[in-house]
Subunit: 142 residues, 6 copies
Amino acid sequence: MVDVSDKAVTSRRAVAQAVVTTTPHVMSLLVAGELPKGEALPVARVAGILGAKQTPSLIPLCHPLPISGASVEFEPGETSLRIVASVKTTGVTGVEMEALTAVTVAALTVYDMIKAVDRGAVIGDVCVLEKSGGASGEWSRG
Amino acid sequence: MVDVSDKAVTSRRAVAQAVVTTTPHVMSLLVAGELPKGEALPVARVAGILGAKQTPSLIPLCHPLPISGASVEFEPGETSLRIVASVKTTGVTGVEMEALTAVTVAALTVYDMIKAVDRGAVIGDVCVLEKSGGASGEWSRG
Amino acid sequence: MVDVSDKAVTSRRAVAQAVVTTTPHVMSLLVAGELPKGEALPVARVAGILGAKQTPSLIPLCHPLPISGASVEFEPGETSLRIVASVKTTGVTGVEMEALTAVTVAALTVYDMIKAVDRGAVIGDVCVLEKSGGASGEWSRG
Amino acid sequence: MVDVSDKAVTSRRAVAQAVVTTTPHVMSLLVAGELPKGEALPVARVAGILGAKQTPSLIPLCHPLPISGASVEFEPGETSLRIVASVKTTGVTGVEMEALTAVTVAALTVYDMIKAVDRGAVIGDVCVLEKSGGASGEWSRG
Amino acid sequence: MVDVSDKAVTSRRAVAQAVVTTTPHVMSLLVAGELPKGEALPVARVAGILGAKQTPSLIPLCHPLPISGASVEFEPGETSLRIVASVKTTGVTGVEMEALTAVTVAALTVYDMIKAVDRGAVIGDVCVLEKSGGASGEWSRG
Amino acid sequence: MVDVSDKAVTSRRAVAQAVVTTTPHVMSLLVAGELPKGEALPVARVAGILGAKQTPSLIPLCHPLPISGASVEFEPGETSLRIVASVKTTGVTGVEMEALTAVTVAALTVYDMIKAVDRGAVIGDVCVLEKSGGASGEWSRG
């Protein structure tokens, strides 16, 4: 774990996404809250936020950071569900990993809740969308 | 968490994959073990195996299962790294979620180790490849 | 942690409750999903189920058990919210602690979500309602 | 998890309580350290302190905080045990949830150690007694 | 994590030890319960038992096992404290790692509680004393 | 957990060691990466770093600290492996426990990976080598 003792404490933010691709039928069940295991989105939101807080326990070289805010939002499409997480901290390193962990755990939770009706669902397009704060300043995916 | 008390204890196995897409330059650094944070693959393998064991703590409606075996393997390509995890159990539910969590945590760990040289790397194609054991028998992605 | 190696593996179930007492105004906000932090019940349900799985990490002398089912239900009243959890296992010890941990973590989560509007809310009546399986057979609170 | 990035870092403290109600016989065993599972209070104290540190992993929308002090004390009565926890931090949000989690986990641990002799014990009166620091200043239960 | 799917489920037990070496003065404070941080042994016992249950989260290639019993005992000498842990399971692999983790976490907890009065204390002689059950049968340190 | 609210936030560092003693044959297998379970040192390094981050969850009276850097290094000898961990923080208490936990978890991981070929291996000489920062200033083992 690289030494970040001398980095400045600044306000930092990162936004990441993940996309779960499934069938139109499953999307309609998901949006209607009629999946066999119940409503998926509230469960996935909680899982994503708790997951963000587990980041330094899961990713070996990640520094522990005091997360000061986290949100997980969903954009349902016809055959896919886009998950976007935004995480903030006032700390010495960025929170990309926390935002990525949030969307990933949320996406895995969605898969867990739809797998009885679509075992072939795929999680993709997991990436950082925006990042601000710290030495590298503002960055957003072109 | 659905009641699985009456399901049979059988030998079960699941195989899942994730693909990290980056630049040829980063792939050459990764394969040569010359990334700024050091060798990525051994770290990602350990993270994936430990991650599989955290599945029921991360995925709310997942049943705890006694994992009896887990492996994480890597297939480096020119611009991407394919990660394949195989998980086994002797239990009452399948281990797809454990295999998916293993590849996902391994992929996030790889991203963490390459983000200093490629912030734009993307994790995709996260899916179950094969599944055996239990009431639904053998299944493999077509 | 007492030795339970020689106890029989049987199907076991426990039901526990907790009651959060607050004001009529807060109860109406909670039922309408209009609390400042958002909808409380789905968050508390997920927290309770995840909490049940953390029981042996929280309660020092509790044996780890493979939970085979868990549910958390809510009964809103005029000035209180009753939380009931039911947990099942096929194992060597009972699941009272898991059911109690589920209702307690769910109740704490509700408190966390209403504390901005009622700091004085109280959690009480936390007890086991029913228990079945194992050497002691059926039991229910008289 | 609401955004607390702009809140001031101040010294904060919260005190909470829980009460375990049981029989006079069990209270005499507990005070004498003669319960079947051994001395309950030192075990419950450690569980409460460790529990306080797990608060952000258990309560989904709770911010992680650097706890700077925590104590758990016991006041045995004739038919009940009062548990009082005090938690301090220097941070951006209060530590009520940490104090409540400490007393709750301590109370559950006491229940676990007396349940062989009193399955009907009840945990109640779980509430915040005092709170200081932060924008809302001093508060104590009337 | 090697595949143990085909190993027999048997009753298994392991005993391990650790020795903390310090000064006669510190040992007298420890035995009298007069260390600055309070009584060390009950805290170390709880930490050791909880630590045993965390073994598969800490040791990457360790299989999760349902621990059916665990005890941690102390033998104070003039300048050292011997810690002995015994762990049992009914499972497919041995519990040496659980017993070793128990004594190690207990020893670290003792160090934490004496470090204000003896920063130079040393933990040593950490080893498995006995092991029974499984394909390799009885074994004890010669 | 003693109150450290009034201690100064300073840059702190601790270095600790552990020594695993085994046979020359096992050391040669370990150095060559030919142990039955695979390469031990990368696995033990990751386990040690993740273990350091778990310190406040394992050691009851340890304060949570934002670790700002951690490294685990190995010095193989003829019949023993020396493990040295260095941990840094910018915080209110020292990081001796984090450094000791890192070397201990790394040593247990090494034991786990060699136990199939040397059940009698011993972990010893676990101690703090150096400490800096905080009220007590520089200290090193004489």
